[in-house]
């Protein structure tokens, strides 16, 4: 089992890396967790489902997951709670988060119809390699397809 690293450390690393990349390549400005989330997905139509437009794991996390699990992935507590994804040992197997994203769990809605297999793999891999999670194996799009 991977040992979670302190959250602040991993976040700082992540931000520094993104900033360097942005400076080096003149890519669009990198966003940190508390920057404004990415622009909206196009609305669905009568003949097609609404789909999230963003493709990479970091952007998908900021467009969807952080709404409930929060920007630092530490979750939130009210009358009930949203579980933390930061330093989460339940993520040890990639199948579990992939199934939760696809099918939902308790009050969490299923996202299988909103996301492609590749998007599910991207966002699961992102969460499993950030926020103090350091699981080295990556989920593939084919594996997601088999879980549907």
């Amino acid at each position: 089992m991977a040992t979670p690293v302190p959250l602040s450390h991993s976040l700082r690393l992540c931000r520094n890396l993104l900033c360097l990349l942005a400076l080096a390549s003149f890519a669009p400005a990198a966003m940190s967790a508390d920057d404004e989330p990415p622009p909206f997905s196009p609305p669905g139509s009568f003949t097609d489902l609404g789909h999230f437009a963003h493709q990479d794991g970091a952007t998908l996390f900021r467009a969807i997951c952080q709404g409930c699990h929060m920007a630092d992935a530490k979750g939130a507590v009210g009358a009930g709670y949203y579980p933390a994804l930061a330093g989460d040992q339940k993520l040890a197997s990639a199948t579990y988060p992939a199934l939760v994203v696809l099918k939902g769990r308790h009050g969490m809605p299923p996202f299988g119809d909103y996301l492609t297999d590749a998007q599910v793999a991207e966002v699961v891999n992102y969460v499993r390699s950030h926020f103090g999670n350091q699981y080295p194996d990556a989920l593939t799009q084919a594996e997601v397809a088999r879980l549907r």
Binding site: E36, P37, P38, F40, S41, P43, G44, S45, F46, D48, L49, G50, H51, F52, R62, A63, I64, C65, Q66, G67, C68, M70, A76, V77, G78, A79, G80, Y81, Y82, G104, H106, G107, M108, P109, P110, D113, Y114, T116, D117, A118, Q141, A145, R148
Partner: protein
């Protein structure tokens, strides 16, 4: 790659979801009605809970509509009632935000509503259909005045950001022109004999006659610019039918058929014709929370606010609930009663230890809660009325805000006003949910300005409720899938030992207050019967 679905294998739930995502809950309900899902309320008048055994206690968890109705009725029946409520107020989702109100969402962002006196927004339910007899009856019994809620306003807009240069179109234009064009096309088919296999000669004549009236066609069955079509869709300027020496009216030009079809705006017209959204609809004068508050006024001494339930236990003699002060924390407190009616949303209840049977527990854990976001935006003047002559009703748009709702109260009085600056479902609701309240409001103002350019100069302040950030519901409503409902609904609605559940989640009118009211009445009636039978 996204998995490709065989269109022939589409389930009813997929269809509902598709419709719900694309066009908001309004259309989803429309489809539900068509598919025999939504239906008229089963309310049959005030319930009679006679013969309650003296001293029997019932603990109610949650002071939303279901909990308040139960407290009101059970106390009148003679039961000893106590209510635990998580929030610092009663009402639950039956909620109105006014100037001075504060709201802290999950994540810690606190908003203070800065509306002027008399202005408000309903972040939860905002309308009551004429066939929601339970809601209407409680409003009448509690003397809560109602006023009309006009779902349909022919002068509001339908807006496609990709069509007509992004210019919003008047509902009446889309309505009249779509009907005109399809009437013309159908007339052509009839006159060319293309429907001869379907229609007798007499019926062809009857159909042509009705199409001419229905579509405002000319003598040659054409839909054209004319006095008649202008009388239907309106003139080029609303003031064009003046008097005396004022200018003669200018007939308006119908939208071309191809442009109209390409825009898809006719798809939005289904909403006011849905069973749940047709006239007459109502709203309480002063805000939706008036009905819940009237119930609360009757039972307030029984309600303990700021009570966060942390465990629900039962044995053969009664129910024991553990709770803490929701704001200050501290020592665990305990409440004990003979019976318990739990109205806590399943999104919350599924995270609390509760001692019920496996089937009920599985049911509690099987309802996904839908995302939805609502905005209240205050403007310095009611430009939608003064400039655009839109009094109440709703504009629909393909922008992420999806709707702009105009206040039904205070019409034509001038002064400031509060718009429903967005009512969002589907992917865009999740995206708004992922923002801070400030970011959401900034976006809603920026997007709304594409429909009403006056936004930029006139906007003053706003509040936003994103329901997945709500600490007391973690979502908007229990969006049961057909399969989950089939498997779990009956188990969810049982009296499990001494515990029973109620709320919109335990109804076949999901998301509506009427569902919560009916669920409450049905459950307490069954509980009462059981209590009397075993006393």
């Amino acid at each position: 790659m996204r998995s490709v679905q065989n269109p022939l294998s589409i389930t009813r739930r997929d269809l509902l979801r598709k419709i719900g995502v694309s066009a908001g809950a309004a259309m989803m309900y429309q489809a539900m009605s068509t598919l025999g899902f939504a239906r008229e309320s089963d309310y049959r008048g005030p319930i009679d809970l006679g013969g309650a055994p003296k001293g029997t206690s019932i603990l109610i968890l949650g002071a939303g509509m279901a909990g308040l109705v139960a407290a009101y009725e059970l106390r009148r029946a003679g039961y000893t009632v106590k209510v635990l409520e998580y929030n610092h107020r009663a009402g639950g989702r039956s909620w109105t935000l006014r100037g001075g109100d504060e709201y802290t969402e999950l994540g810690g962002h606190k908003q203070k509503c800065e509306f002027d006196p008399g202005l408000y927004v309903n972040p939860g339910p905002w309308r009551i259909p004429y066939h929601h007899h339970g809601m209407l009856d409680y409003a009448r019994r509690l003397k809560v005045p109602l006023e009309p809620f006009n779902q349909l306003n022919f002068n509001a807009y339908l807006h496609s950001s990709k069509d007509f240069g992004g210019k919003p179109q008047r509902y009446r234009h889309i309505y009249a022109d779509y009907h005109g064009h399809i009437a013309e096309l159908l007339s052509k088919a009839v006159n060319k004999g293309q429907l001869d296999a379907e229609l007798t000669t007499e019926d062809k004549e009857r159909l042509l006659q009705s199409l001419r009236t229905f579509g405002v066609l000319d003598k040659d069955y054409r839909y054209v610019k004319s006095f008649a079509t202008s009388e239907s869709r309106g003139y080029d300027s609303d003031g064009d039918r003046g008097a005396g020496l004022m200018p003669a009216p200018q007939f308006s030009t119908p939208i071309a058929r191809d442009a109209l079809l390409k825009s898809g705006l006719a798809n939005y017209m289904v909403t006011p014709f849905d069973y749940d959204l047709t006239p007459s609809m109502f709203q309480p004068v002063g805000g939706m929370d008036r009905i819940a508050m009237a119930l609360y006024n009757d039972v307030a001494p029984l309600v303990e606010l700021d009570a966060k339930v942390t465990a629900i236990d039962q044995d053969e003699r009664g129910v024991s609930v553990t709770y803490v002060d929701a704001r200050r924390g501290g020592e665990a407190k305990h409440a004990r009663a003979d019976w318990c009616l739990c109205t806590i949303p399943l999104s919350i209840l599924s995270e609390i230890p509760v001692k019920v049977s496996e089937p009920m527990l599985a049911a509690i854990q099987s309802a996904p809660y839908e995302a939805s976001v609502k905005f209240g935006l205050q403007f310095k003047r009611r430009f939608w009325e003064d400039d655009e002559r839109i009094y109440g009703g709703i504009s629909f748009t393909d922008l992420p805000i999806q709707m702009i709702g105009y206040p039904m109260a205070g019409m034509n009085a001038g002064g400031k006003g509060v718009l429903l600056g967005g009512y969002v479902w589907g992917t865009n609701a999740y995206e708004f949910n992922a923002m801070t309240p400030e970011q959401r409001i900034r976006k809603a103002v920026e997007l709304g300005a594409q429909i009403h350019p006056q936004y930029t100069a006139e906007f003053e302040n706003g509040v936003v409720v994103s329901w997945h950030r709500s600490p007391f519901t973690q979502g908007c409503f229990a969006n049961w899938s057909d399969a989950a409902r089939e498997k779990h609904y009956v188990n969810l609605c049982q009296i499990d030992g001494r515990i029973a559940l109620a709320g919109e989640h335990a109804s076949r009118l999901p998301a509506w207050q009427e569902g919560a009211v009916l669920s409450s009445l049905d459950t307490i009636s069954r509980m009462h019967k059981k209590i009397v039978a075993t006393a």
